[in-house]
């Protein structure tokens, strides 16, 4: 395949990508949730299979400070921990059917909260960065939020051409839901947008596409 300029250089970058030890700094590294020892209250958010991370938190201990848990029962993967959470979380558990309702309650909680509140989130990467975006207007920086990636590895992809974000992309190459360009999904991640950069893959030779594979199931 012949290409030049921006398109080719992206390919080169992604070629290097395959090398062992390669690591792109912007790609977030997630952790396992663990209670902050120093806090005045805790707010835990999770969806779907992320409920397991909440159960594991309560396996560690039940903190002395007030705790609230907001759980969305429909994650991407079919896993609902609502019943178990009701047994394990004695008070402060709020179960929502949909993510937007959960995020609305999250922002209501933040409106009256004070410094000392620590925030934890477990769920798909898309959900994690929706939470980050919801917290930002309250002056909360993303590194203050403890994040555990659970559920699908599907990526939000930002089209650098038309600026549309395509959600839940599971393949290395995807059609932009805004402009329908075929985008190569990079590892380059924007914390501000909560999405990976997508660059047109066949700009110089229209229709000539590498194999499309599901690599973010």
């Amino acid at each position: 395949m012949v290409g030049s300029g921006a398109v080719l250089s992206v390919w080169l970058i992604e070629e290097i990508n395959m090398e062992r030890g390669y690591w792109i700094k912007s790609k977030p590294v997630y952790t396992s949730l663990k209670w902050h020892e120093k806090a005045t209250s805790h707010l835990v958010l999770a969806t779907g299979i992320g409920g397991m991370a909440v159960l594991k938190l309560f396996q560690q201990m039940h903190p002395t400070q007030p705790v609230k848990v907001l759980y969305g029962k429909y994650g991407q993967m079919d896993a609902d921990y609502s019943d178990t959470l009701k047994m394990v979380v004695p008070e402060g558990l709020h179960i929502h059917k949909f993510d937007d309702a959960l995020l609305t309650q999250f922002q209501l909680e933040l409106r009256d909260a004070q410094m000392g509140l620590r925030i934890y989130v477990a769920g798909s990467e898309g959900f994690i960065w929706d939470v980050v975006a919801a917290a930002k207007p309250f002056g909360i920086q993303e590194m203050e939020i403890m994040k555990e990636q659970a559920d699908t590895l599907a990526r939000s992809v930002y089209c650098v051409h038309c600026k549309t974000i395509s959600k839940y992309v599971t393949t290395n190459i995807t059609a932009c839901c805004g402009c329908e360009r075929m985008l190569f999904v990079r590892d380059h991640f924007s914390r501000n947008l909560g999405a990976y950069m997508g660059l047109m893959v066949d700009a110089e030779s229209p229709g000539e596409l590498p194999a499309i594979e599901e690599i973010y199931p």
């Binding site: 120093k38 410094m115 002056g139 909360i140």
Partner: protein, 317 residues
């Protein structure tokens, strides 16, 4: 490091112990603009030695005609502040560095809690100008020994219009840090500048209340402490230097004509870090840059403030 030649335009005794110096460019041109919380390093050529002391800029960051610094007279120190108090006169020329900010305001903060102790008020005076200009929410908590010894209270009352809270130790007034820091809205940032015990108390209280590290800022203007005289060997330069009691190791290295990097000269920025090749374990770390484990390992030293009590210290310089 490139320096700026300045002239002392005015000196004012603010309190019996604090003098306010106004510095203008030697040739009358404008000085570089700066951001609130910046400091400069003033070079003083005293007889037989050179002092380089960092001082916070306390004027308005938008005023590029003059820089303002305040110096508290420290009796038991190396002598830089005494030189400023006793030998610097109006019209005298001094060399200063370009302003550097190691204590900047967070642009993402929704509210700023400023806590000052004594002469630690100075960086906040330029920061308040910045905060007022952007209309940011803030509180200034200023603690001092007594009203008679407190600098700039009247100016601050005028500048801060109700955002100022004063605490005079002589009247038994103390900042209740726990009460102050446990009732702040999300997105608050706390800044502290003052004597070491105060800085430690603020950092500890904020951390214990669950404030994230990103929201806690401190500037501890530690001047190099006076210690025991000692000898240091510089391996690359292949010389041995005597460090007198009231001179910092960095000053002694510079006085010996060896080029050493530095920036804040107060143990904060880490620029002057040197690798320790050999030591018999007696390093007295006075900086706020190295982590506790790095301090224990004795592999690095900040010559601007740290010393040794040991007999042998060999540095990779």
């Amino acid at each position: 490091m490139s320096t700026i030649n300045v002239k002392v335009a005015a000196i004012e005794a603010v309190t019996p112990l604090i003098k306010h110096f106004t510095l203008v460019h030697e040739d009358g041109s404008e000085l570089p603009s700066f951001s609130g919380g910046s400091h400069i390093v003033v070079t003083m050529d005293a007889e037989g030695r050179t002092y380089r002391n960092p001082y916070s800029l306390m004027g308005s960051p938008t005023d590029t005609q003059a820089y303002h610094i305040s110096v508290r007279r420290q009796e038991s120190s190396r002598g830089g502040s005494l030189f400023m108090h006793e030998h610097v006169h109006v019209g005298m020329r001094l060399k200063i560095t370009h302003p550097v900010n190691l204590f900047s305001l967070s642009k993402l903060a929704h509210k700023h809690i400023l806590i000052a102790g004594g002469i630690g008020i100075t960086p906040f005076m330029s920061q308040i100008e910045d905060l007022k200009r952007v209309g940011a929410d803030y509180e200034l908590h200023y603690a001092f020994r007594a009203y008679e010894q407190a600098a700039f209270v009247n100016e601050l009352e005028e500048m801060c219009e109700g955002h100022l809270h004063c605490y005079a130790d002589s009247q038994g007034e103390r900042i209740d840090l726990n009460a102050l820091l446990s009732q702040q809205p999300l997105g608050s940032h706390v800044y502290v500048c003052g004597p070491s015990p105060m800085v430690v108390a603020v950092l500890e209280t904020a951390r214990n209340l669950g404030w994230p590290e990103n929201n806690i800022h401190n500037e501890e203007f530690s001047s190099p402490p006076v210690g025991e005289p000692f000898k240091v060997q510089l391996a690359k330069s292949d010389i041995e230097i005597q460090v007198p009691a009231e001179m910092s190791m960095l000053e002694a290295i510079e006085a010996a004509g060896v080029k050493a990097d530095s920036l804040c000269r107060g143990g904060v920025c880490g620029r002057c870090e040197l690798t320790v090749l050999e030591t018999d374990g007696g390093i007295e770390h006075h900086d706020h840059y190295l982590s506790d484990s790095e301090k224990v390992s004795c592999r690095s030293i900040m010559p601007c403030v740290s010393r040794t009590k040991g007999k042998r210290l060999v540095l990779d310089l």
